[in-house]
Structure formats: structure tokens, C-alpha cells
């Protein structure tokens, strides 16, 4: 059995206990716990996944299979800011491809990659429910609507200094 202090701070562990307590069925807390751990640590390390499985009382494989299934969960480190560009139809016909090219130019990386300074990771996502203001993208939890090639640089700059 892993000790929590190997992976988490006391505060993190106590937050995790609160999340687990919200569910009568402990396994239902897996996804909220993985969201929480990723928020706190940036990604889901093997250690963290092993600990969460033991914390919930399920085989280790359970947290690994969940972590590798969902698009929004990362088992490898990502940049400090996650840039998610919608590439679905409503955004596509309103210039998403140009926006994506602009982002690639500005960041100097391809889709799926992280900038060498580890500030940004660029990914494509499927419909973020902002089709009325296409093209749209999300950076961390912030929605950016009606993005243009010209506004890409300004938007990215507003994140460079953010923690």
C-alpha cells in the first residue's frame, strides 16, 4: 500500500478525502479524483494513478484504463497552459483551420506538442459547444470565441505570464 505523502501534500490528500466522501459508491469518485489530481499536479503520473486506485479500493488497472480513455486526461506532462482548438464542422467552415495554422506558427509547434519552455501544449478537440461563436478554442478553462488569425497572438500573450 502506497503512502499518500509519497505523492500528495496533506492539503491535497484532505481534498481527495472530501471528494471521495461525496459518493456512496467509491468507484464513482475515480473521475472527479483524476480531475482533481490533474488540476493539482498537471498530469496523472503512474504513482498518482496507483495511489488513487488503492485509495478507492479498486485494482490498479481501473484508474489506468480510465485515465487513458478520456481525451481531457493526460498521463504525460503537458504545458502549463493547454490550448484546445475546436476542429469540428461549424468551426471548420468559419476558419478553424486558419486559426490552427496561426497557433502552430505562433507557438512553433505541431498539434499534440508542447513548447520547449513548457508553457503551452496545443491540441485539437471536438466541439466545445461554442458553435454560435465559431471558430472557438479553450485555453485551460477559458473559452475564446470568434477567434481570428490576428487575435491568436494577443490571446496567447495574455497567458504567457500566468501561472
Amino acid at each position: 500500500m502506497m503512502k499518500s505523502t509519497e505523492v500528495f501534500s496533506a492539503k491535497e490528500f484532505s481534498d481527495m478525502e472530501n471528494i471521495r466522501a461525496r459518493y456512496q459508491e467509491p468507484a464513482s469518485a475515480i473521475l472527479p479524483l483524476l480531475h482533481y489530481v490533474q488540476g493539482a499536479q498537471g498530469h496523472l503520473s503512474e504513482q498518482a494513478l496507483t495511489f488513487v486506485a488503492e485509495f478507492i479500493g479498486v485494482p490498479h488497472v481501473r484508474t489506468f484504463e480510465v485515465a487513458t480513455y478520456y481525451t481531457m486526461l493526460f498521463t504525460e506532462p503537458v504545458g502549463r497552459h493547454l490550448v484546445q482548438v475546436c476542429r469540428n464542422l461549424s468551426c471548420h467552415v468559419n476558419g478553424a483551420e486558419e486559426v490552427l495554422q496561426g497557433l502552430k506558427r505562433e507557438l512553433g509547434i505541431d498539434v499534440g506538442a508542447t513548447t520547449p519552455d513548457r508553457v503551452f501544449t496545443l491540441v485539437e478537440v471536438e466541439c466545445i459547444g461554442a458553435c454560435d461563436h465559431a471558430p472557438a478554442m479553450m485555453i485551460d478553462g477559458d473559452l475564446h470565441r470568434s477567434v481570428t488569425v490576428d487575435s491568436v497572438s494577443r490571446i496567447l500573450n495574455s497567458y504567457r505570464e500566468k501561472p
Binding site: 481501473r62 480513455y69 471536438e126 459547444g129 458553435c131
Partner: protein, 428 residues
């Protein structure tokens, strides 16, 4: 047709998500009325009289779902609000979540009372972190005023709600995959039957209703099922939230009586096409619906009429394309989406969509032959008829319908490796 604001009645109010804004406009009036004056059976009957059909896409009668769950004697039972709207082109539930969360909570409590459930979950897509925060705050407000929690308004009825965030999996919008995900597993569909109303969350009776469906319930209890049934069409009563996007002048969510035509929605409500452009096609029910062409502009946008027209209403996500659209590229975009989102459980969807995308790649590259169109349709038929869940079945509608209606654009790619636009005229 002008908008009829029943679900969106609070959307343009100041600070709409706050409980006081909800209360001044008959908010939390239906719930005490039901708890004090109606039996659970009477609540179910009212929803049956309203003939409210599920707004998530399937159109199943909500009253029947509640009835089935209420008749199951096993406890506890669960109400799940499906707020995982992931169908590309859909953004209607977001409007309700962000602007009228209490209508959703009141609808859930009414569903809980009707079906005999004391616990509710809102499964909200991971891409809506702000929506999740708004719902959390609304739950705290409602609990502090005894509209949720133990012994609601001294009625003896208990009902609590937990917000549960998804993590970016389209398939989790399908109710059994959603339940798997809520149980802390990979979100993959279950075989049906048994249906969730009997064997749902933790294998217990579970009602899964869409956000819009649940938000429709308080007005139905307040004004009566007969009033609601008088709106829209006889088979599909009520209003519908249509998410309109793509090449229209004013994209947005429009609440209209069911059965508004595509032409009315685009030209009367969404501002028509962009200046100087003409209508070419629309996917009336999001990425998984078959496209409609210009000859179908007068089709009514309701469950039955769209089924007759060979398409489907789905969640009411109307993606409109004008004469600049390349239908082959549009189809390619949609198929890449489905390929990415296939959960991998069944072979036809997992492998089939890979091959469909590969052939579309080749068509766009100019390295395919006309026989490949037949092969494409053959694979689509296989996926449609043998996929495990409805999402797999519907994934190929875009390919089948665009080949049928815009074959000329495909042929143009096959004949020369240039753009397909030159052939559009001949096709339509």
C-alpha cells in the same frame, strides 16, 4: 415563426442564474405544488398528457420513462441529468445550464418525486467547467432554501444532487455509456435491454433525462400537460431549443414550437444566409444526422417529420452550409470526429470508421476511383447495421447522405485532384 420563450424565459433577465431571479418568475412554484397537492402518479400523468419527448435525441416519452422506473420496486433509484451535450453543433443545454440552472434542478426534483428517487446526478461534459461551477452554486442556493436536501419544504421528500464532470468523451452522451462513466469506468455503451429505468446506475432503477427535457417539466406542472401538448405538433408537442450554427448570419439558440420548418428557422430567426451567399445544405440534428438539401427547406424540424425525410432531429443542432461549402471536406471533418470518438468497444465502428476516413483521405488526395464510392457505401452499411450502439450506427449518415445528394462533388474529386465545387451545379 416568432420565438416562444418557455425554456428560455429567464435567459435575458439580469443575473439569471441566481435563485432570486428564478423565484420572481414562478420559480420553485411547481415543486411545492407537486409535493403538496399531487401524488407521484399524478405528476407522471401530467407529463404523459404533455407528451413530452426526450430532448437528447431519441425522443422517447419522458412520462413513460418515469413510469417504468416508478414501478420498479428496488431502491434506491436515481435521476441522472444528461448534460454531456457533445453532438457537434449543439450548444443549447449550455444556455440553460449557465442561465437557468434552477429550472434544471426543479425539474430533477420533480422527476425524483415522480419516480421515487432521492438522489440525482448531473453529468456535465468536461468542456463546461463554468457550467459545472454555476450548477454547484445553484445546488447550494437551492439546498439552503429547502428546495433540495432532506425533507424538502417539510414535505418528507428528500432529494439531493451531485454534479459530476465528464472528461471529453462523446460516447458518454449515450445513456448507458454515461452510467458506466459515472461508475468510474471507461465510458462504453451497455447492451440494452435491460434499460437503465430498471438496471442503471449501480444496477438500480435510473432515469436519464436530457437537460432540456428536465427544464421543460416545471412549466408543465405549473400550466398543465394539456397546455404543453397544445404547442408544437400533435406528435411532438412543446417548444424546442434549436442550436443554429455554420453559415448563417445570426448563429445562436432559438426556442420555437416543434415543427418550425428549416426555412423559417434559417431565414426568419437566424438572419438568413451570410450576405451574398445561398443555402446549400444543412445537418438538422448535428454531425450524426443525414444532410438536407435545398429541396428540403420546408421540412418540419420535429422527430417524426425529419425521420420521414430520411434524417433525424437529434438534439436540434442545425449546422447550415452555404454555396462555398465543400461537402466532401465537410464529410471528412465529421468522419474524423467519429473516428476519434469511437469508444473502441465494437469492431464495425472502431475499424469501419478508420477505413471510411482512409477512403475519404484518398478521395480528397485524388487517388481514389469511382469504385471506392461503392466500397465506402458498403462499409457504411456495415457500420450502420452492426454497430453496438446508436452513436456508431448514426456516424455514417453524413457519408451516405452527402454521396446521395452531392455525388457530383465526390466525382469531381475522383476525376481530377482539384476542388469539387465546379461540379456542384450538376449534382443538385
Amino acid at each position: 415563426m416568432s420565438e416562444l420563450k418557455i425554456l428560455t424565459r429567464n435567459v435575458s433577465r439580469p443575473n439569471p442564474a441566481h435563485i432570486d431571479s428564478y423565484l420572481v418568475n414562478e420559480g420553485y412554484v411547481a415543486l411545492p405544488r407537486a409535493l403538496n397537492e399531487m401524488t407521484p402518479e399524478e405528476v407522471i400523468d401530467e407529463v404523459k398528457i404533455a407528451r413530452l419527448r426526450g430532448r437528447g435525441g431519441a425522443g422517447f416519452p419522458a412520462g413513460m420513462k418515469w413510469d417504468f422506473a416508478s414501478r420498479d420496486r428496488r431502491k434506491p433509484k436515481y435521476i441522472i441529468c444528461n448534460a454531456d451535450e457533445g453532438e457537434p453543433g449543439t450548444f443549447k443545454d449550455r444556455v440553460l445550464i449557465e442561465n437557468d440552472p434552477h429550472a434544471i434542478l426543479e425539474g430533477m426534483a420533480l422527476a425524483g418525486y415522480a419516480a421515487g428517487a432521492e438522489k440525482g446526478f448531473i453529468y456535465i461534459r468536461g468542456e463546461y467547467p463554468q457550467g459545472a461551477r454555476i450548477l454547484e452554486r445553484a445546488i447550494a442556493e437551492a439546498t439552503s432554501r429547502s428546495f433540495l436536501g432532506d425533507n424538502i419544504l417539510n414535505s418528507g421528500f428528500n432529494f439531493s444532487v451531485t454534479v459530476h464532470r465528464g472528461a471529453g468523451a462523446y460516447v458518454c452522451g449515450e445513456e448507458t455509456a454515461l452510467i458506466e462513466s459515472l461508475e468510474g469506468k471507461r465510458g462504453q455503451s451497455r447492451i440494452r435491454p435491460p434499460f437503465p429505468v430498471n438496471v442503471g446506475y449501480s444496477n438500480l432503477p435510473t432515469v436519464v433525462n436530457n437537460v432540456e427535457t428536465l427544464a421543460s417539466v416545471p412549466p408543465i406542472i405549473l400550466r398543465g400537460g394539456a397546455w404543453y401538448a397544445s404547442i408544437g405538433t400533435p406528435e411532438c408537442p412543446g417548444t424546442k431549443l434549436y442550436s443554429v450554427s455554420g453559415h448563417v448570419a445570426r448563429p445562436g439558440v432559438y426556442e420555437l414550437p416543434m415543427g418550425v420548418t428549416l426555412r423559417e428557422l434559417i431565414f426568419d430567426n437566424a438572419g438568413g444566409m451570410r450576405e451574398g451567399r445561398t443555402f446549400k445544405a444543412a445537418f438538422p440534428g448535428g454531425a450524426s444526422s443525414a444532410c438536407l438539401d435545398e429541396s428540403q427547406l420546408d421540412v418540419k424540424l420535429d422527430f417524426n417529420s425529419l425521420a420521414v425525410a430520411g434524417s433525424m432531429l437529434g438534439s436540434g443542432a442545425v449546422i447550415v452550409l452555404d454555396d462555398t461549402a465543400d461537402m466532401v471536406k465537410a464529410t471528412h471533418v465529421l468522419i474524423k470526429f467519429f473516428e476519434h470518438e469511437s469508444c473502441g468497444k465494437c469492431t464495425p465502428c472502431r475499424e469501419g470508421l478508420f477505413w471510411v476516413r482512409r477512403i475519404l483521405d484518398q478521395i480528397l488526395e485524388g487517388s481514389a476511383s469511382e469504385q471506392d464510392l461503392d466500397l465506402l457505401l458498403e462499409i457504411c452499411e456495415g457500420i450502420r447495421s452492426t454497430s453496438f450502439c446508436g452513436l456508431g450506427e448514426a456516424s455514417v449518415s453524413c457519408v451516405e447522405s452527402t454521396i446521395k445528394k452531392f455525388r457530383g462533388e465526390y466525382l469531381a474529386y475522383l476525376r481530377n485532384s482539384g476542388s469539387g465545387e465546379a461540379e456542384t451545379e450538376a449534382a443538385s
